[in-house]
Structures are given as C-alpha cells and as structure tokens.
C-alpha cells in the first residue's frame, strides 16, 4: 500500500486505508474454511486412529480425483456467472465413448482423445446455446444433463465395459512408486495450482471476474465476453471428460450411470468455497479448502461408520453454520460498535 494515495486528497484520517487488507483470494471466508478444516482434521485424528495416516490420505485423494477435477472449471464458470449442471453427464458420456473406442480396438491414447473430444463438443454445445442463442445456462444445462446422460444410455444401455487399459487403471488407482502419493493427485495439484494462479493473477481470470460481476461493463471494456464464456463451457466439458475417464479407470468400469448426481456435489463444493451463485465473487483458494473440508469429513465419517443420516446432518449443519456463525458475529460486532460510537458522542 502506498502512502501517496492517502495523503493529499483525503485530509480526513482514514485508518482503514493504512491497515493492510487481506488479499482478495484469502479473506475472512477462506479463514473460516481453513479453521473448519483444521477443526475437522483435529477431531478426526483424535477420534479415529486410521484417519491421520498416509494410507488414508492416499485412499481419500484417489477417490476424490474425479470430483476434484470437475470442481476446477465449475469454479471458473460460476465466477463468470454461469453454471454447468451437465458436467456429470458429460463425465459419463465421454467415458462411454472412450470405453466403446477401447473395446472397439482403438489404442488407449486415441480413445482418450476421442473421449475428450466428446467432452469438448458437449461443452461447446452448452456454450453455443448460452452465448449465441442467449438461453440461461441453468436451464440449458438441465436440458443437456438429460441429453448427455441419455446418450450414454443409448450407447451402452445396461451394459458395462470393464476391460479397460491397465495404464489407465494404474493411473487412476495407484500411487507413485514407493510413495503414498497417488498419480491422480499430482495431476490434480498441477491443474488446481494453474487454475488458482490464472484466476487470481491472470488476465483471463480478471476478465472472468469482470464478466461475472457485470457482463455489460465487461463488454463495454472490450472484453470478449461471448468467446470467454464459450471457452469456459468447453473447458468444463474437457475437464469433465478427463475426470470421467479417470473415474472409469478408478472403478475399472464404464457404465451409463457413472457419476449420476455428481453435479450437485460439485456445485455444492464451489458454493461452500464462497463463490457466489450470481457470479463475480469468490476465491479459488476457498474452493480448494471446501474440497478439502468435504473430503476430510467424508473420510472421517466413513471411518467412524456414521450412518448416512448423520453424514447428511453434519454436512448440512456445517454449511448453515459456516454462513450463519460469521453473520451473527458480524451483527454482534456491528451493534456493539454502534453502541460504542453513539456513546462516545453523547
């Protein structure tokens, strides 16, 4: 913070300006989430001897790969004020195409290419409908949620393909040799760090925030609002495809039902991460912390044999608590402040 900006123009004392602000990507919400993660880890470690182990890390990270990957583009899209509810269907459709290609004798890489292309096309269709036709993304992607999932069923009916290339299953199931770090985790970290840096430090990220806050202003600023949104939908499709193929490797099976309902968990994590449903706000760090929190809680409750009912209630209370407690304390703080300043005057 520079001193020059405070001095001359504002003779009024402005202590707020001197106080160093938290960076936009690590604000009070991220601190709240971090505290929750720490609390959850502490409780889990204290109550389960199996929690704080390398094996548990490895297992949890491997299991969360598909979900984790999909969170990345969803965070970007929602910052841009859009949403893609078709991700889990794209996830299944791409894996289906991949699986059919593999069982049709295509090599692993070409088959992956075909699967990813499917995802890209699926994303592009969403993008065109939203940007060029001008339909709201929520309803477009509710439609393509059905369409893409339906196409997987058309292609596979009730069959499953479980003869998948060993390279893929190794990637999706195993750790780097001699460590407890899954291959997939490494891939995710690379993607996540790149996505975080680009969103908060990149020109593209800045543009996406502007678009989400006020698309009209973004357009008047010469930003390619349409192209960027279209690109984000394609990105979403591509990542969903990669996630879907990786997940197929993880369970060694391609089925039309793979990942059913996953979209709501993905959206839920992005929202818990503090990204606004209306766009323009939020931080990728928050999203990563939310992902971590959800993974930790799932692992803890599974290890503790918690019933689904309990898991639901804990998850729900956590989400409500996470927004309500800070809001309450803010209110308390404000009313105390008001009383104090009123007192000092009278």
């Amino acid at each position: 913070m520079t001193a020059q900006t405070t001095g001359r123009q504002s003779p009024t004392p402005v202590p707020a300006a001197v106080r160093r602000r938290l960076p936009s990507w690590f604000g009070t919400w991220e601190i709240t989430l971090l505290a929750l993660v720490v609390l959850a880890v502490a409780l889990a470690s204290a109550t389960s001897p199996y929690f704080a182990t390398g094996q548990n890390f490895s297992i949890s990270a491997t299991g969360a790969l598909g979900l984790s990957l999909m969170v990345v583009p969803m965070a970007w899209l929602m910052v841009a004020g859009e949403i893609d509810l078709s991700v889990a269907s794209t996830f299944a459709l791409s894996a289906t195409v991949f699986g059919l290609a593999v069982s049709g004798g295509l090599g692993t890489w070409p088959a992956i290419g075909l699967g990813v292309l499917t995802g890209a096309v699926a994303g592009l269709v969403n993008g065109l409908l939203v940007v060029d036709v001008g339909l709201p993304s929520l309803i477009v992607t509710i439609g393509t949620l059905g369409l893409y999932r339906g196409l997987s069923y058309v292609l596979l009916e009730n069959r499953g393909i479980s003869d998948l290339p060993p390279g893929l299953t190794t990637f999706a199931q195993e750790n780097l040799p001699g460590t407890l770090v899954p291959y997939g985790f490494v891939a995710f970290v690379v993607v996540a760090v790149a996505a975080a840096v680009l969103l908060h430090r990149g020109a593209l990220g800045r543009a996406v925030f502007a678009i989400g806050s006020n698309a009209q202003v973004a357009r008047f600023s010469g930003l390619r609002v349409g192209a960027i949104k279209r690109g984000l939908f394609v990105f979403s499709g591509v990542v969903a495809a990669i996630a879907g193929i990786a997940y197929a490797g993880y369970i060694s099976t391609v089925r039309a039902s793979n990942g059913t309902g996953l979209e709501l968990i993905v959206v839920g994590i992005v929202l818990i991460g503090g990204i606004s449903m209306y766009g323009g706000k939020g931080s990728f760090v928050g999203v990563l912390l939310a992902l971590l929190l959800v993974t930790v809680l799932t692992s803890w409750m599974t290890l503790g044999d918690a019933e689904t009912a309990v898991q639901y209630m804990v998850t729900g209370l956590l989400m409500v608590g996470a927004v309500v407690v800070p809001a309450l304390s803010r209110r308390l703080h404000m009313s105390r402040e008001r009383r104090r300043s009123a007192g000092s005057v009278r």
């Binding site: 199996y50 182990t53 094996q55 548990n56 297992i59 299991g63 069923y153 009916e157 009730n158 499953g160 479980s162 299953t169 199931q173 993880y250 369970i251 060694s252 099976t253 089925r255 039309a256 039902s257 059913t260 309902g261 799932t298 599974t302 290890l303 044999d305 019933e307 689904t308 009912a309």
Partner: protein, 324 residues
C-alpha cells in the same frame, strides 16, 4: 491391483471386525438381512459393522470397503451395487489382508473368495415368471417394471424370463417393454402408468423388485385396470403381506433375508477362521441352517425361492423382522 502375497493368517471370528456392506441401508430387506447377521453374531461373536450408503451408490460402497480395509477388517462382505465397479477397491482390501465375500449380489469373479447366493438366478427368474404366466393364463401382453437398468441380479432374472418365453407353453405371451423405476416409488409408479397407458391390452406387470411391485399395483388400481392386469414379481412380506391378503397380488417370490444374513455371517466366520478357502466341495457348519457346501465358482447357494401366497405368508413373517 497387487495380488495378495499369500492367504492371510486365519483369525477366529471372535477377534474379528466384519464389515458387511448392503446395497443400501434405508431398505427393509437389508434391515432383515442385518437381523440375520446379528442372530449369527450372538452365536459366534465378532464385531459386526453393517454399514452402507442410505441409497445405493457405487461411491458410497467403495468408501465403506476402504474404511473396512483401513480398519483391518478380517472380512469385507458386500452386496454389490455394481459387480465390476467395486472390484478394484475389494482387490486392494484383499492385498491388505482382508478376506472378501459377496452376498445377495455378486462381484466380479476373482475379486472375492466366496459368494453367498440366496437361490440361483434361474430358479428365481422362473419362480416369478411362473406366477405371472399362471395368472395370465399363459397368454397376453405383459411388461416389466424393474429397478435400475444396470442392476445385474435383476437383469439376470429378466434374461431367464425372456428365455422362458421361447418355450412352447408360453408362446401366447409377449413382453412388450422393460422399463426401469430405479427403486424409487415415483419413478416406478410413472413407469407403470406409462406402460399401462401405452399398451391398452396389457394383461400383466412383472415387477422383480418390491418397490416396483407396490407402485405397479397402485398404478393399475388408480387407472382402474386392476381387475384385468396381474402384478407380481418380487415382494417383501415384511411390509407387503397385505398385498397378498387383499388379493391385489396373487403371489410373489422372495427368500428369507434373515437366513441370508445368518448364512453370510457363518460363511464369513468359517472363511476367516481358515476352515474354508472358497474351493468347490468344501463344507462348513451354518448353525440353524445346517451344513452348507461350496459349489462351483465359490458360490454357496442358500436354498430355493419361496413363493408367498395369502395362505402361507404369515408363517414367514419371522424371517422379515427388522429389530436390532
């Protein structure tokens, strides 16, 4: 996944944690299975974790397998939502020294040592089909309202039924459509309504899962066609005895879920104690059910399907208790 380095050392069930994973917990059928397991646990000891997702999903099952693996459960037993999808997780658990068995719904060969089956698919398919055929007088159109389209056990029965249609005796019967209600009351109801309305000549609905049967009965009643459309399939006397008593369903098929749980627990105990290894021909004591023999493919068949009617259903209610 890595192969187990050798068979894990035998462990008496008394010192064991057994992770038994149902397809879904919020289901009276699996609650009865659990009752049977608890019966056996009282007799044999051991620490039973009967855990699973509330609504059947692959991810939820995999998480429970892994939790069993991390706890070092000596047995992981599963009724698989998807036979191949849970296999990698089971393989990993086996590599870490757990013994894996399946019950009710099998997993891929090679990923388990033992499968406790209630009855053969052939018998179950036939038993259900025969009720329908008899009630329809071996002629007319019928449709199927099944559970998930990917439910392999049910699909196996449906295959058996379709094969039956080739027999001369049933040449007058025609399957018009198989639809899926995903074991959800609303979807099953909607599927049954669609079936009935799209096929005005329909004479029967085969519902090889209790929720679909309940929904199909309601759909036929609501559309006012209950008098000409027969509904049957798989039913649960635990909460569907009335369907028989009121005559809405002539008869339906099931087995004793309580015995299935009981037998599974005994098989698990013998398996972890090293008494059996899963080879065909081995036998083990199964408490009140007597001695059981392992068949080909490591499959233990509990018995035969039971056809429930309004006359016999009350005698079996004990098998469907869900206390404990």
């Amino acid at each position: 996944a890595a192969e187990p380095s050798g068979p894990p050392p035998p462990r008496p069930v008394r010192d064991c944690n057994l992770t038994m994973i149902p397809k879904n917990t919020d289901n009276p059928y699996f609650a009865a299975v659990r009752t049977g397991m608890v019966d056996a646990q009282r007799e044999l000891g051991g620490d039973l974790s009967f855990v699973g997702p509330a609504a059947g999903d692959v991810t939820g099952q995999i998480q429970r397998i892994q939790s069993g693996r991390q706890r070092g459960s000596c047995v992981i037993g599963i009724s698989a939502v998807d036979s191949s999808a849970v296999a990698p997780a089971l393989d990993a658990a086996r590599a870490d020294g757990s013994r894996v068995i399946s019950y009710d719904a099998d997993v891929s060969d090679g990923s388990r040592g033992l499968f406790v089956n209630m009855a053969t698919a052939d018998e179950l398919g036939r038993a259900q089909f025969e009720i329908l055929a008899r009630a329809m007088g071996n002629t007319g159109e019928f449709g199927i309202v099944s559970s998930q389209s990917t439910a392999e056990v049910t699909n196996g029965w449906i295959d058996v039924m379709i094969a039956q249609l080739d027999e001369a005796e049933y040449s007058g019967m025609r399957l018009v459509r198989t639809s899926y209600g995903d074991d959800d009351a609303k979807k099953s109801y909607d599927a049954a309504v669609a079936l009935l309305r799209a096929h005005p000549n329909l004479r029967g609905i085969m519902a090889p899962t209790p929720i679909a049967m309940e929904a199909s009965v309601k759909a036929a009643t609501d559309l006012g066609v209950a008098d000409r459309v027969v509904v049957t399939g798989l039913g649960n006397p635990g909460n569907q005895a009335e369907l028989l008593k009121t005559g809405q369903v002539p008869a339906y098929v099931l087995w004793s879920p309580r015995d299935l749980g009981y037998l599974t627990y005994y098989a698990a105990a013998a398996y972890t104690a090293g008494e059996i290894t899963g080879r065909a021909g081995e036998t083990f004591a199964a408490g009140r059910l007597g001695r059981k023999t392992i068949g080909p493919g490591g499959e233990v068949v509990m018995g035969h399907p039971i056809t429930f009617t309004q006359d016999n259903v009350d005698r079996y209610l004990h098998d469907f208790e869900t206390t404990g």
